[in-house]
Symmetry: C2
Subunit: 216 residues, 2 copies
């Protein structure tokens, strides 16, 4: 069975996956980009943008792993775009330009129906209005023998964790305090007992934790 | 001026400094001892108990630092003992036996007056009923040119952090999920903007973060 995997999800030392006051000009919330600075210089991230060079090592290894053996992606609506409520038209095609970095089917969770559409490079966006389990089933069908990557935001990941549907979750703990925002490892209820830390390694920039679901 | 320092304060990956349901039989809450297992094997901790041997390295270095140049200690009442409300008598002398590992004046925050008393090895316990700033002033007077160590629990440290009275705080992030409990880095308000991470290093067991107060 395809696994549902989270990769390179950054949280602050005080636990926030996004800063306060998220809005169009600050989609990750105030100071939220502080959470992602460890990513920008890596070789894998630069390559995604057509840039050469960049850092290799533990940070880059974790970034690269997030693209290995992935056959479909699930994300929340806020990761797809800034529009809230009904879709006003079909103009918004995602944050990523004409050739999004997915190259497979992407399932966007939303309360508002929207037609699927294809982009360059093999990415097709689908819009799922009947819940997280339906999105997972559709993604499994699309992924074939490969796994499914679960993108953000915080609330989307928490929904899947509370249902213990996430198999493997890589968190990067960033040494900053945000003070407020959306907390990832909070309110998980009984599901928090379903996860154990199976890897724990630090680069000079962040500490990488891998959470793996245990069967019981 | 003497600094107010926190050392070796353990929190779980999900941010808790104590587990749920604290009580006499589980003073650190359920699963709370998981937070401290990285300490027990260190050379410094063993030496405090009169034991030889033990691990050296980064974990031990952080433990040892917590005993350097300390001239007084402040702690919350729950760290002193399990008694709540009025003191029924003078029988309780702390968790530590006849020779507590302080060897200096210890100031216990409480709402209930109690006479100071001296123990073996130079430790004297004082009971402060007029608030955290009074305790700090008394500890400064007692510490002379040395610093003051601030013990737990979570609530005591948060009170001093919210007032931005802590100068330096060493946290050990432990790769476990507790699911619920008392969170340290939460509800600090504006004070969270007064602290920056000035050290970030990992052992195989925990990640050590040092928070330092910035002036402004």
């Amino acid at each position: 069975m395809a696994k549902l995997r989270v990769h390179a999800f950054s949280i602050s030392l005080d636990g926030y996956g996004a800063g306060p006051n998220q809005r169009l000009e600050a989609p990750l919330g105030e100071q939220g980009t502080l959470l992602h600075e460890w990513i920008f210089g890596t070789k894998t991230f630069r390559a995604l943008q057509g840039l050469e060079g960049g850092e290799t090592g533990v940070d880059d290894d974790f970034i690269a792993e997030g693209f290995e053996n992935i056959g479909a992606t699930i994300m929340g609506r806020n990761m797809f775009g800034p529009i809230r409520g009904e879709w006003p038209n079909d103009e918004w095609k995602g944050w990523w330009g004409d050739v999004p970095p997915y190259h497979h089917d992407v399932f966007v969770l939303t309360h508002h129906p929207k037609q699927s559409f294809a982009m360059g490079g093999g990415t097709t966006f689908h819009f799922v209005t009947d819940g997280i389990e339906s999105a997972l089933a559709q993604a499994q069908a699309a992924a074939g023998n490969r796994d499914i990557r679960l993108g953000g935001g915080v609330d989307t990941i928490k929904q899947y964790m509370r249902a213990a549907l996430v198999d493997d979750l890589h968190i990067a703990i960033v040494p900053v305090l945000l003070g407020e925002g959306e907390r990832l490892l909070d309110g998980l209820g009984d599901a928090s007992g379903r996860y154990v830390v199976t890897e724990w390694v630090t680069s000079p920039k962040v500490t990488h934790a891998r959470l793996t679901r245990i069967d019981r």
